[in-house]
Subunit: 293 residues, 4 copies
């Protein structure tokens, strides 16, 4: 069992720590607000006063934060990971940030004699709890080999996709498809409904068809009943779309359905739905069709 650290104990990060504790690992953790960490401390997690303390104490330190700015905030400064990490240690970033940002941090980590992996996950808290999470890993092969057993305790499917930063590219390449599939699903649903098919029946047929990805199976029913709380809200989805579009421009990859779908996320915000799950692009399209959704 490994001596682990974890920075960022929000919904996803917290569940990961709980899972690692259950598997028998020791975990030292830090979060901006201690309150969200209480239940983990009760489960046996050690509390640290700063990211620096986590990185200094643990063999492998994980981080799960919101965006590039948050990653910099935990990495830099006197209380940051860079100040605490030392030779032979590993920093594994699970956050979704731009590949370039991740690569730059990896270089600075290496200057300390440590190494870094980017290890974004595909799936939600529910996927994690079902033990079906998929982890993509970017970085050196031997560092990957060290972290792999622990990552397998988070999600069973762990794939080394290439050098530093490329796991993030992979994650972004997946996530753009969530938004496009939801748009296409909405177009199909509205065609079905306006042709005279009950919405429940159309959803039922679709979630059992050739287009029924897990995304469609999870979010399809949202057009019948919006969830009380967004799983992945418009702004979060658009953050990933912007990373995709930035990457597309750097690498000269045209992204026609991605960018068109992104405009409907913008419209969702324009129409006052930014706090809703991104499945609300259905509502944007419904209103354009003259339906009150």
């Amino acid at each position: 069992m490994a001596n682990l650290g974890f920075i960022g104990l929000g919904t996803m990060g917290g569940q990961m720590v709980a899972r690692l504790l259950d598997k028998g690992h020791t975990v030292i953790g830090y979060n901006r607000t201690r309150k969200r960490a209480e239940w983990l401390i009760e489960k046996g997690m050690r509390w640290a006063a700063s990211p620096r303390e986590v990185a200094a104490a643990a063999e492998i330190t994980f981080a799960m934060v919101t965006n590039s700015a948050a990653l910099r905030a935990i990495a830099e400064g006197p209380g940051g990971v860079l100040a605490g990490i030392g030779a032979g240690k590993v920093f594994v970033d699970i956050s979704t940030v731009a590949p370039k940002v991740s690569r730059e941090l990896a270089e600075r980590i290496r200057e300390k004699g440590a190494d870094m992996l980017d290890a974004p996950v595909s799936g939600s808290v529910i996927t994690l709890q079902q033990g079906k999470l998929s982890v993509m890993v970017g970085g050196r092969a031997q560092t990957f080999a060290r972290a792999k057993p622990v990552l397998e305790d988070i999600g069973p499917k762990v794939t080394h996709v290439g050098d530093n930063g490329v796991a993030l590219a992979m994650k972004i390449a997946l996530n753009l498809q969530l938004a496009v599939q939801m748009m296409a699903f909405s177009e199909g649903m509205l065609l079905a409904e306006k042709s005279g098919i009950k919405r429940e029946i159309a959803v039922d047929v679709m979630v059992h068809s050739a287009i029924a990805s897990p995304m469609v199976q999870y979010r399809g029913p949202f057009v019948l009943q919006q969830p009380d709380e967004a799983w992945f809200d418009v702004n979060m989805m658009q953050k990933d779309m912007l990373l995709a579009m930035e990457l597309g421009r750097q690498l000269n990859v045209p992204l026609p359905t991605t960018t068109v779908s992104n405009e409907f996320l913008t419209a969702a915000r324009g129409m006052g739905m930014e706090k809703k799950d991104f499945a609300c692009v259905f509502d944007v399209l419904a209103k354009m069709s003259g339906l009150e959704p």
Copy 2:
């Protein structure tokens, strides 16, 4: 066991007849060229000289043809279904045609004292053989009740979605998503590849992710190796896209990702790939990215 008829014995139609014979039904069949029917005649199917003869002999007559023109060709004229069908019989059209065309034929069938259902299927020959085909049915509830047991012998999932024509609308609403999902998959694949991820690895991650619909699982590997024979070629896919766009205009449903994806099917034709599986939109996009696919 029922006394059935089947018109149109191509790859899909032929496999359906084989399946119905295996289940113990008697089948009388017709095809434009008798040669493609020989193997079914050997399996016990009775041969008919015309669609009219099929419709006159069978209690329930199925048809599986290419498009609206082909449907009219088997329905009309002295040798057509309308000339043979009589009171109490049922005509079940499995073809994908415009909902309006289907509804018009249904009215003419009813004038003969018979009734009609539209029963398009979602899935390929492989799905059929795996016993996983999904059948959507449009038409009157009591006619549906009569045909249902036989339809369940074709595909296990049989859903009555509404009145005549609406099953076709449902099918079209599904199929547009095939093309859009393939486009989004291509955009993601190219981002991954140009970020430095091996194509095989990117496909592997994607077919195990939240966007992995059966469509993605079947066609994802096509970007590694195009199939010798198209499962569903560019022109066939575009035929369904045009039906979707026609319906969208009739019903005032904007279809932004559908129409954008359709332009890439047009480009596939422009670039000489009309005989390829529609998965070749990946190649269109790859060329635009400067990759030789």
Copy 3:
């Protein structure tokens, strides 16, 4: 001066006849409802009881009707142009129909020993009255030479663009740009307005800029004040867009901005604006931005 015929005396057709009479030509005319023709009869136009009578009497017969169905209605049957036209005469169709429909009619006209030109115009009634109309002509060079002097009395810019049907293709190729330019203008206007620029000022800057086509100069001010009567309503614009998309598919030309713009015409209909000038795509986009237009 020539001995002319004119079928279809709506707003545009009527003004053309008035113009031809003013130039000294004799004109025999027909319209579905005689009432709309009264003012022209007062101006000296001879009234005919049918398209056949017009075609039989005139040396060159013009037609200006709504669509392919209307063109067939005046061409076929016992009272139609085909029944009246004879050797050496010319039929000039100014309507916007599919190039294929026009070519088919041209062949039937030729079987009568006559010849046909397609001569769609670019511009509105106002352009016509200002003497700035542009006429594109498709057909044989020597037939064009005969009709040219008369066409120059309609609009000063008369261009022979190629064989039968291609003038229609040219017209369609122009008109798709009207819709796309209006969409792009709307996107720019909303960016300007939401950045804090008064709508009047933004319109003023735009109509004096590098993007100020006559279309932008005419329709730009519509975002300040919708006209009481549509110049070219959503359905008329969409009819031309569909002709463009049909042609694009026949000729393998991808039309990405055309099709995306067309979806916003569909949305305009969905949102109850089908009777408005197509400039109302601005209102669709404004609502998606959260503005009450």
Copy 4:
């Protein structure tokens, strides 16, 4: 006559200085490389060793640089504009940068007791030489009043569009339309050409039609013959598109035709045309249509 300064003496900036000298103003100028300024020094411009020196000497200092980074480079540091500018002076930035960047600099300029205007222009060097340039100005009304007479010596049409930064928003709102109009023009041109119309004839009809903006009139002929040197290359156009898309997301304005057009600029880069004028989106689309352009 005014005592002016000018920083950034590239093609456009240099021509503006020449124009201001011709009008009788005194100008002190600075450029990163002195060589490009020699001809202006010969015409009477005083040379300065730094942006600071320009700002200290002139009553009104203009700047015309490439992007936000270049603007910061001339503004900050010991040799920068901020170090030289003093109470009562005016800084007029003609560059195209993000509105936010401009507003931030304006605040820092005001802390020095001076004031700033953003004054981007619409048009090219040729428009400037023809005396038809359009200048949009953002900033305080009384500062605008001071700079206006000089701005009128640059371009005759000078419009105060609002507060600091909004002239840039106006410029961006205009420029996105250049790219979309070029795309729509390309779609139309290819439809015309593949319908059998000679390219020269189609261009001639289009530049005399309702869609003939100055952009179409300038760039339409580029599809016949690419210019030796790009007027505005793919990367420059895409820089403005990205500013538009950034603004669209901040202000919740969906930009469907803008983003779709932008993907074709990305494709132009992917296909090796980044140094060409952005009119080369025609070539991208031509290749997708199977034409060798």
